[in-house]
Every structure is written in C-alpha cells, then in structure tokens.
C-alpha cells in the first residue's frame, strides 16, 4: 500500500503543476507514514524531484510514450499501479491529466475525484474538499473505495520543498495499443499557455477591437504572462477560442489575473475566481468585477495600459 504521484513532463521538463502535486502527495505520505512514490514517463532529468520529497521514482521508458496518448498512457500506468496497490494516487488538473484521470481510475477500479482543493479531511472514510459549481462553492466528498485517484486543482496547495534521497527504478513500457491515432499536433511553442502561466492578462469587450490587442500582448510580454479573453471577444473572432476563459472556456488558476475591459459577468468570474490575486482595470466604477478583485484601477484602458507597461519595463 502506498501513496503515488504521477509526474507530468513535456520534452523532459517536469510541469510545475506536477511539483505542486508532489508537494501535496508528500504531505499525505507523511501523515500516513509511508514513502512517497512517483511515476514518470520517459524522463531523463529527475533531479528536482529530490527537492520535493520523492522517495522512490519509477520511470517507464518506451518510444510509444513519447507523446501523450490516453489509452497507451493509462495502460502503462494501470499496469504498474495494479502491482504497487496504491491507496492514493495524485495527478494534476492539466487538460491531459483530467483526460487521463477517469480512464485510469476506471481501469484500476478506483474512485476518482476531480477539483480537489484541500488535504484529506479524514482518512476513514477518505474525504477531501473539492470545488463545485465552477468555483462558486465547495463540497466535502468521501469514498469507501480502497483506492482513490485525486486530481489536484492547480495553485490550491502550492510548492513546498522537502529534501529526500530519491531511489530510481527504470522500467520498460508494456506492449499496448490504442484505437485512437494521433494524426497531428499543433502547439505554440514560443507562448506561455494559460494552464502553465503564473500570470494571465485578459482582455474584454472594453478594448473595442482586435486592433488594440497589442496593449494586452505588450503587457503580457513584460510580465511573461499568458494572454486570455472574455467569451464575446472570442465569439466575435477578435481572438482565438483557445484564449476564451470562464465557465464555458478554460479555467484560470494563476497567481495573478489582470482583467482589462472585462465587466465581470458571473460566468466569467466563475472560471477565473480561483486565481490568487485579481486586478481589474475598467472605466466603469460599477463594473461587477470590482467586487471580486483584490486591486483595481477605475480608468480608461487606453491610458492606463501604456503607463503600466512603461512602469513595469522600468522595474524589470
């Protein structure tokens, strides 16, 4: 019986969200007085895991695992998990993890809980706090199953360093096939993604048109931030759908979310509310966003943004 954390990596780089998952799983393993086991796929540089408390790492290497494919990944992981008989498996809440989680849980006959927002409240029965109603509330969910897969909401626990002596065990992948064939993969490599970003700069209808988006992009650039937008902005084609955040778009859980010319409709807020610090720039002091922001400037975006960009350039 053990506690396992699944390490997500891309091109041999471990995702920051996975380090948060490791920190979280370490705390659980300490409470249960167990070693923390991590499982990675095709990783060659794992030194950083020693700083976050991984006691043992199983690294599965196989050419077939180079790109994420849900069936081959879940077959390999479930094969190992069936041997290790873990009680608790922690994964991140990235798009790929949320795709993998339910399938993996079903394969190993485990309960699955998404949007986990707290350490376990109790271990028998096992229960945690999860967000629901798109961040408008939380609930306590419990299970009597002996194995549970937890998808940890990003930025809900944080990174906690914890030194360990990592023991590595290299294993080979199993022979596995998928009914799904990946034909192509398009990925912007030079841009920070909304999912991975510490800071997200988001623009709404208040920016008047796509021709003004250089302001959002310049601000994002000085901050090393990802760019996002409100739903009407993507509906009108000012920005790609992939930037649409909110209840029906992507969720945002960054450290800092800067909303410019966004009114703060309930469906928008629902998707971005789990960001730690929210800043709003809007010329209407009555805009609802001011009620859920931490900092705000009542002002015209076209005047405030250039000054903000200059000011930030000066300190960077």
């Amino acid at each position: 019986m053990s506690v396992i954390v699944y390490i997500e990596s891309e091109e041999n780089k471990i995702k920051k969200a996975s380090l948060e998952a490791v920190s979280y799983a370490k705390k659980i393993s300490e409470s249960l007085k167990k070693d923390l086991i991590a499982v990675s796929l095709n990783l060659t540089d794992f030194s950083i895991l020693k700083n976050y408390g991984v006691d043992k790492l199983y690294n599965i290497s196989d050419d077939k695992l180079k790109v994420f494919e849900v069936n081959i990944y879940s077959n390999n992981l479930s094969n190992l998990f069936n041997e290790l008989e873990p009680e608790i498996i922690v994964i991140t809440s990235s798009a790929n993890s949320r795709y993998l989680g339910p399938i993996l849980a079903s394969k190993i006959d485990a309960a699955y809980m998404s949007n986990v927002a707290s350490l376990p409240i109790s271990y028998s029965p096992f229960s945690v706090k999860r967000s629901c109603f798109t961040n408008k509330a939380f609930n306590e969910t419990s299970t009597k199953k002996s194995t549970v897969v937890l998808s940890l909401s990003s930025n809900s626990y944080g990174l906690h360093e914890n030194k360990s002596n990592l023991i590595l065990e290299e294993i080979k992948g199993i022979d596995s096939n998928s009914a799904l064939k990946i034909d192509s993969l398009e990925k912007l490599t030079n841009k920070v993604t909304i999912a991975d970003a510490d800071i997200v700069v988001s623009g709404g209808r208040g920016l008047k048109g796509p021709e003004n988006w250089h302001l959002i992009e310049d601000l994002a650039k000085v901050l090393g931030a990802a760019t996002a937008c409100s739903k009407p902005v993507s509906d009108m084609g000012w920005r790609p759908h992939s930037e649409h955040v909110g209840q029906t778009g992507k969720p945002v859980a960054s450290n800092l979310y800067i909303a410019v010319g966004i009114s703060g409709a309930i469906q928008h807020l629902a998707g971005v509310n789990s960001s730690k610090v929210k800043v709003v720039i809007n010329n209407d002091p009555e805009a609802p966003f001011f009620r859920s922001a931490d900092y705000g400037i009542v002002g015209d975006a076209f005047e405030v943004l250039p000054k903000l960009i200059e000011g930030l350039k000066a300190i960077k």
Partner: protein, 248 residues
C-alpha cells in the same frame, strides 16, 4: 448513424448557489434549470449530422422527473427521442454505469457527453464510460467530422490542438468550438409542438452503486474589499503587486 447525446440538467449559469438541510443539499428553490452548456454544443453538432447524414439522435439523462423539461427542450431543438433513467445521479461513476447499460443494448456510432457539467464539474462520465464499454474517448473535443465509418477529431490541449482519428464508434467530450455559439438552435413553435409527440422513455436504473458521496457544501470565504489605485498612479499598483501581494 445512431447518436446518443448525454444531457445534464444544471442550474442556470446566473443562479445564486445556496444550500439547505444543514448545507447537505443544493437548494433548488427559485433556480432555473438549463441544458448543460457543454452538452448543448454537442447536441447542436448531433443535429447537424441528423440534417446532413440522416442520423438518428437520442438524448439521455440520468435524473428524476424534474429533468423532463430539459429533455423536452432537446426534443424541440430536434432530437428524435429521449430516454430518462429514473434515478438521482449520485456521482460520475454512477451516471457512467447507467449510460453503459443503454450502450450495451442499443448500438450507437457516436456518443456525446459534455466536457464537464457546470454544477459538479466532474469531467469524468465520458472517460469512465469509455473504459466500461471499451470505446475510445476524445475529451475537450473542438472538431468532429465523419466520413463513412471513420471519425476525425480535434482535441483542445494546453497551448494548441491535436488531430486524432479512429473508427466509429467513438465517445467525445463536447465543448464550445465543436460548434459556434451562433449555431445553437433556439426551438421554434413547430419544434415545441412536435416535441410533445416524440417518445420520452423512462427506464429504471440498474443496481450499480456510486463510489463517492457528497456530504457537505461550503461557500467560499467572503472577499476583502478591493483596493483601488488612482489611474494617474499606476506605479502604486506595481508597488502593491510587488511588495504587498508579492506576485511580481
């Protein structure tokens, strides 16, 4: 072609979220229910296949009688028939188990679930169903075309998209992008009248038990008041973000 669209009955996006009975239950008093938006994008795509390829579209929900208005709405939008599995959905595993029974009896070429429901946000029914009925699943689906028995699908990934293909049948997790907002169908009078004549079959639930229980609800902590900075003094904002919030 036979299409099954799994529908979740959810509180309207603007609903005030309240709980009752010692915070153990959602308080539906005064709440308007809608078709889960992600499911509606999927239903809209299904109706497109109905018009182009003569597909037969069945909508299904696991829920009690209070879910029937949204099933009627799906029929008014154009679905051919509806199935309600008579049970209060306890968790995603329970719902997937119920749907899997139907999928074993009827053969569907395409099964559509929403990416996630906006009430419990589990994002798990499609994936669990996939393993239960051994059928491939594509989550976060933003594109689907079908040629003969072959499906080409687009999956939204962090920072891009992936194009996949497979033989039918396939399960997808639908979301915006699969169709546009402007493609959504508002039922007209004729649709509403026709919906009354269409079959809404009520089936008993199987005996599979849920794996998880929701015991208690909480509301988030009330927020502190926003700190306003003068628009002439943006450097003060930078200072606050750097030294107070410590996020820069």
């Amino acid at each position: 072609m036979n299409i099954l669209v799994c529908i979740s009955n959810v509180p309207d996006t603007t609903s005030k979220i309240n709980f009752k009975n010692n915070d153990s239950e959602f308080d539906s008093n005064g709440v308007q229910y809608i078709i889960n938006p992600n499911d509606e994008f999927g239903l809209t795509r299904a109706i497109w296949f109905q018009e182009k390829n003569n597909a037969e579209v069945t909508v299904l929900t696991v829920g009690d009688q209070t879910c029937e208005p949204i099933l009627r709405k799906c029929l008014a939008i154009g679905a051919n028939k509806a199935i309600r599995i008579d049970a209060v959905p306890k968790d995603g595993f329970f719902v997937a188990s119920q749907i899997s029974e139907i999928c074993k009896i009827n053969k569907y070429d395409l099964i559509i679930c929403g990416r996630e429901s906006i009430d419990y946000n589990g994002a798990m029914v499609g994936g669990i169903l996939s393993n239960m009925i051994n059928c491939p699943y594509v989550a976060n689906c933003i594109g689907l075309s079908i040629d003969n028995k072959k499906a080409t699908l687009e999956r939204e990934i962090d920072g891009g998209k992936e194009v996949l293909s497979c033989e039918l049948p396939v399960i997808i997790g639908s979301q915006k992008g699969l169709v546009e907002e402007t493609d959504l169908i508002i039922p007209n009078m004729r649709g509403i009248m026709q919906a009354r004549q269409k079959t809404l079959e009520v089936l008993p639930a199987n005996s599979i038990k849920n794996l998880t229980d929701t015991n208690k609800f909480f509301k988030p902590q009330p927020k502190k008041e926003v700190k306003l900075v003068d628009s002439e003094d943006v450097n003060e904002l930078i200072n606050l973000l750097q030294n107070e919030a410590k996020v820069l």
